[in-house]
Amino acid sequence: MTPIIPGFREMKSVVVRFAGDSGDGMQIVGERFTDTSVTVPNAIATFPDYPSEIRAPIGTIAGVSAFQVHFGSMTVLTPGDEPDALVAMNPAALAVHLQDLVAGGLLIANASAFTAENLAMAGYESNPLDDTDIQKKYEVISLDVTGLSVEALKDSPLTQREKLRTKNFFALGFTYWVYSRPIEPTIDYINSKWAAKSPELAAANIRVLKAGYFLGETTETTRNRYMVARAEVAPGIYRKISGNEAIALGLVAGAKKAGRDLLFSGYPITPATGILETLVSYKHFGVKTVQAEDEIAAIGVALGASFAGQIGVTGTSGPGMCLKSEFIGLAISTELPLVIVNVQRGGPSTGLPTKTEQSDLLQALFGRHGESPVPVVAANSPSDGFRAGFEAVRIALEFSTPVILLSDGYLANGSEPWKVPEEDTLPEIVAPFADPSKPYVVFARHPETLARTQAIPGQVGLEHRIGGLEKDGKGKISYDPDNHGEMTRLRAAKVEAVAKTLPPLRLTGERTGKLLVLGWGGTHGAITSTVEALRAEGHEVSSTNLRYLNPLPPDLGDLLKGFDKVLIPELNSGQLCMLIRARFLVDAISLPKIQGRPFKISEIRERVLQLLND
């Protein structure tokens, strides 16, 4: 238990958003704040939000970059609806983000950047910091961040330009003071990053960081300070991890457990590129990566690797998924293991490349010609990417099938602390190659999984041919009508057989009641937070999250029967909802959101309350 510090208001959790120009280093201070809070420890979740342009002109609305961090003494499952505090480094940042700040929230503004020119670029006709309405609505702390930073460095040998670039650490230092965070982890970080290369730079950043912190100590600028107690975090070793990193890790872990090398082939696309960029540094794990000429080639390369006995993986986002669809069909037909990661973003078409959405679920299920079922797995938080990635590899190998793994832009870039698992808590993955001492039947099946056993090039005496034409159980091309019916049935039954290996659904709340909130993938945090809060208030509502979208978990049908109503919040127009209605004939209600942003807790809360009161 953290002792309550006198003079502080205690909060269960706080949401801070840093916002400034792309060049202002907001992502860096956000990351620092996170890393500091994580070691307190606090529960934490983050949400970086940067512009889609590489470098928009300085000071413009388009150039605003932000980083939101949510830290608490209790479970934190989302980066938070609205910020309790906003750090705004220039007028454009204020213009974009002020609307989100909670009434009464803390606004820390870099007053020195509120010049006439910057105000004009942000569309302000007068200085909002002088606006009495704003002063009344929020707790405004207007600081000459730039000036004070330069002042703090008056003895430093750095150039003026370099001095100006330290100002993000001033803002960070001050924010640390407000929330009584330790500054040592950041000092360590600065030293480890710059001390060797440029001791002056390191010293300057540390000085400015401290200046910001001490400004709080020594002046009367603020009326309130806040504290967030240590969270009761399960003991263990933790690391911070983003969704893209976690998926990369899970894939490699799965491959290792299966005793196969991993070959990842991708083509850069936002927000999926991070997976490739992570895996290129895993070469010493035997990971090979191929940056292909396009997404079609990428999946082709991955499938080739699988045919050759490795586990082939490819990753992309929506537009790339379209291009991979023909090859997914071939993997289905040849029954080869393969993992296809889709980090979903706003669509249709190029859409909103840097924004999040869950609108590719039906594509994952049906986005190919012919009867072509594939297992579909979804990560439900950044760190859950590990488990989802591992599971995708497991299912692909144990069921000799391509698997689609859905993530999204919000999970990909968001990060959270992750309790590092012990290797031996991870399940074995069993998918042996054919035994060369026995005759090889290409489409012979495992009695339970219905998987076909692979024989791989290099194995003596198992030479065989596969391809995308329909074939019979022996692998011979067959146009026989009954055989086609039977092979179609078997391909579907094999995917259905995955259901037997799925864990029971984890439920928040009771198994029966008035309302079940059913989610999948990245809405997990928002839904669970909402339902936990409502239950604490005495409402009869439960929730669960689907990591497995195809096949659906075997216990889902019974669960649905236990509730009067089912609400399905999704970042799409009701795709899971359609599946649930068709499959179980329950009048599930959709809560769609298509705004390129994750759900706010308040949005789900409102709808749940409506339905409970109906």
Binding site: I241, L249, V252, A297, F307, A308, F327, T334, G468, K476
Partner: protein
């Protein structure tokens, strides 16, 4: 990197029969593909590669049925994408001998881009492009190599696309081994297939192939009995460019323009000597552009140069990383570079 794995047992003696499958061959009677199949079945036993290390990858088309008729590992993929699957196979296991069989439509129409990038990357695989200048499997539409004005079902008044020239295309991609052979000369095919196999790097082999049904006789003006003496220029490394009855004609250069001369009266050294290994691509370009109506069509190895292979470079990077960092452990993987501990 060696193409063959270090074999502990002596290689079993292989013969043509070892590569014949029990599948009925389903090409049209008289199709040029039969002769190519035959030649490859005769080539494979002579390459010193164990049978289980051969993989034949194809796309879709009449030609792409090929893997079914070779008793090796085989993958009949999708239209135009064999090259990508072959890349995955070869990168995953560089010990395999990987052969891509493709058609003029499969490899140069829908699959042109993957072919381009396969060639420039210099993966150590062999591409056999069956060029019948027509889409066979879909019953006779014109292809990217069909001559201007070709009348087919989709071009009843004649095609209007300038055809793609497979060898110029391969040169544009800076392929390291480029050759041409013909379906009516088994000996030449075997020779070229062997050379392609031996080349450490990508080998691009155009095979002039006759489609008896939809484009019969398309190559006769070049390799037909009547024409071949005058129209085929058989390339032999280190030998002069001679052709015609009794090799009576030769090719010389005037500035950058080739000329045909009477070989019997030519000055010594005037006639070009075939040197496929030269690093300047101009000579290869010269050969590739030769053909009807003004010049004979060169047959053989147009170009053969050395460059590291893609799969060996990947392999090296992995090995280097392992040497530098040690083979990755579970702990390294799961813990990464920075963790913190929450005490119990």
């Amino acid at each position: 990197m060696a193409t063959e794995p270090p074999s502990v047992h002596p290689l079993p003696e292989l013969s043509r029969k070892d590569f014949v499958t029990s599948n009925d061959v389903r090409w049209c009677p008289g199709c040029g593909d039969y002769a190519i199949l035959n030649s490859l079945q005769r080539t494979f036993p002579e390459l010193g590669v164990p049978r289980e290390n051969f993989v034949i990858v194809s796309g879709i088309g009449c030609s792409s049925r090929f893997p079914y008729y070779m008793n090796t590992y085989g993958f009949h993929t999708i239209h135009g994408r064999a090259t990508t699957v072959a890349t995955g196979i070869k990168v995953a296991n560089p010990d395999l001998s990987v052969w891509v069989v493709t058609g003029d439509g499969d490899g140069l129409s829908i699959g042109g881009n993957h072919m381009l990038h396969l060639l420039r990357r210099n993966l150590n695989v062999t591409v056999l492009l069956f060029n019948n200048r027509i889409y066979g499997l879909t019953k006779g539409q014109y292809s990217p190599t069909s001559p201007f004005g070709t009348r087919t079902k989709t071009t009843p008044t004649g095609s209007i696309d300038h055809p793609l020239h497979p060898l110029l295309f391969a040169l544009g991609a800076e392929a390291t081994f480029i050759a041409r052979t013909v379906d009516n000369n088994p000996k030449h095919m075997v020779e070229i297939f062997k050379a392609a196999h031996e080349h450490q790097g990508v080998s691009f082999v155009e095979i002039l192939q006759n489609c008896v049904i939809f484009n019969d006789g398309s190559w006769d003006p070049i390799y037909g009995k009547e024409s071949r003496d005058d129209q085929l220029l058989i390339l032999e490394a280190g030998k002069p460019l001679l052709f015609g009855k009794n090799k009576g004609k030769g090719i010389r250069l005037k500035g950058l323009v080739p000329e045909i001369v009477d070989a019997t009266t030519a000055a010594p050294g005037e006639i070009l000597i075939h040197e496929p290994h030269q690093s300047s691509p101009l000579y290869s370009q010269l050969l590739a552009t030769m053909g009807l109506p003004d010049f004979p069509t060169p047959l053989g190895i147009i170009r053969e140069i050395q460059r590291p292979t893609y799969e060996s470079l990947i392999h090296d990077q992995v090995e280097e990383a392992k040497a530098k960092k040690g083979s990755g452990t579970w702990k390294e993987l799961l813990h990464g570079t920075s963790t913190w501990t929450v005490e119990g």
